[in-house]
Symmetry: C2
Subunit: 305 residues, 2 copies
Amino acid sequence: MPGPASRPARVSADFAAWLEHSRAAVDEILAAHLSEVEISLGPHSRLSAAVQYSVRLGGKRLRPILVLETCRVCGGPAERAIPAAVAVECVHTFSLIHDDLPAMDNDDLRRGQPTNHKVFGDALAILAGDWLAAHAFSLLAGDGCDRALVPALLQALTDGTKWMIEGQAADIEGERRPVDGELVHYIHEHKTAALLEACCRVGALCAGAPGDTVTALARYGRHLGLAFQIMDDLLDATGSPEKLGKGVRKDAVATKQTYPAAFGVAESRAHAWREVEAALHVLDPFGSRADRLRDLGRYVVSRDH
Amino acid sequence: MPGPASRPARVSADFAAWLEHSRAAVDEILAAHLSEVEISLGPHSRLSAAVQYSVRLGGKRLRPILVLETCRVCGGPAERAIPAAVAVECVHTFSLIHDDLPAMDNDDLRRGQPTNHKVFGDALAILAGDWLAAHAFSLLAGDGCDRALVPALLQALTDGTKWMIEGQAADIEGERRPVDGELVHYIHEHKTAALLEACCRVGALCAGAPGDTVTALARYGRHLGLAFQIMDDLLDATGSPEKLGKGVRKDAVATKQTYPAAFGVAESRAHAWREVEAALHVLDPFGSRADRLRDLGRYVVSRDH
């Protein structure tokens, strides 16, 4: 068992305002992007409506914020990372739509609203997810991305996406097996941490950061992702449906492979704290310019939704 | 109504042998590729098994053959197009797995074998399709592709994939509407022709062909794709399940938007011939080195499966 863990320091006083500002900025970027999508798909396309519905559902926008902020930390103007930021949110939204399907986690609510398939039916939901995935990768080939960076960006985002899917497959398969700590770790590392790692990698790449910087921020993203998913498990086990905007205690009913099930609530919380410590440790060489990333680390283990 | 159409000339005497040789070569390329996939996903992964199952089911391999042959016609060694050829087959296989799902076309048989979800369940089938799509795009970022070409290859393949998904969405939606010739054309152009267009574009790009050559071969691919899909509709309406390896008359039962339903069998056949004529016309400037592509055009409207 790893060493003791201490509760991370509190986030900076102005962090909540910064996070809300960043979230609103991402919402604006996404809204502008979606209006172009609507034009190309046609305003009367139900596929367009299904795509728009889930992207507009909101959420924390943690992944695009990570892309923009890691780009900024590496000295790049955040604008340069906008197409990649939209791309990671498209990948994330695609994964939510498919995960919610009756054949998968069978969720009726997401962010307090009916899930995509409840509104548009299973077929359109599958296709909206498929379309968002292909669209995400197409954004990397667009004019907004430096052409020389496209192979590395594409590799990072496809790796993160494939690992995420592999994690979801292990999650679904794991429902048939007794809870197993190693399997839980595999699932979390793939299902959640891989895409957060990709976000940080992609943001650093967009800034033209050198290889060791890209690798360091990718490690930060992986630790952050693990902490985030452990907290998600804890919130499902202990949180309120009103705050979360979705059903709770579903993991236990489905006998999911989760941290609390494998290690108990207290040890899971300690594990999340240790992951945040590791994430912050990676940031040491970055000095004060990485303060927002530090706050993000502290935030993911202190949130209640 | 367009002008009269005449049955295209017969394919060359040695075409069947060339097509079989090409198909076997693609099967070998895919088998070699899949063994690497199995290693990375782990031999005991059911996701790996689901991915392997559908890619190995066989089929005509028309899309990768088009990639390799258009590359060769443009003077590039076909080997240079191998990653892209694997990628298009991954996209095609992903689309078949998802199209066969109960929520979509609900097909139990594909190429004479149980469909992916009948063997692995709906959840794994959705994830296997998702994984294959992400994997397809990742291949374009790999070492096998010229890095300078990645943005154009990615654009071509994501465009083809998105249009294909838009076509499938229109197809599903069209089941609720009276048969409509314009809608049929939209569906066919998107669902099938767009990916065949992308195959030819991608093959020409891999050879480093100039823009007008890429555009010409893309047009050939679009006409070929339309002819191919009209024939698919005709085979569903008139063919035998033994030869096709899947159920027939399903389109009529589902009140699908098809050419025979919109225009009748004779006019649909004439339309397919006109598309092949148009495809061959595009090839005029290519001389004898495009003879295999000409044969492919004649073949798609003479096949019985």
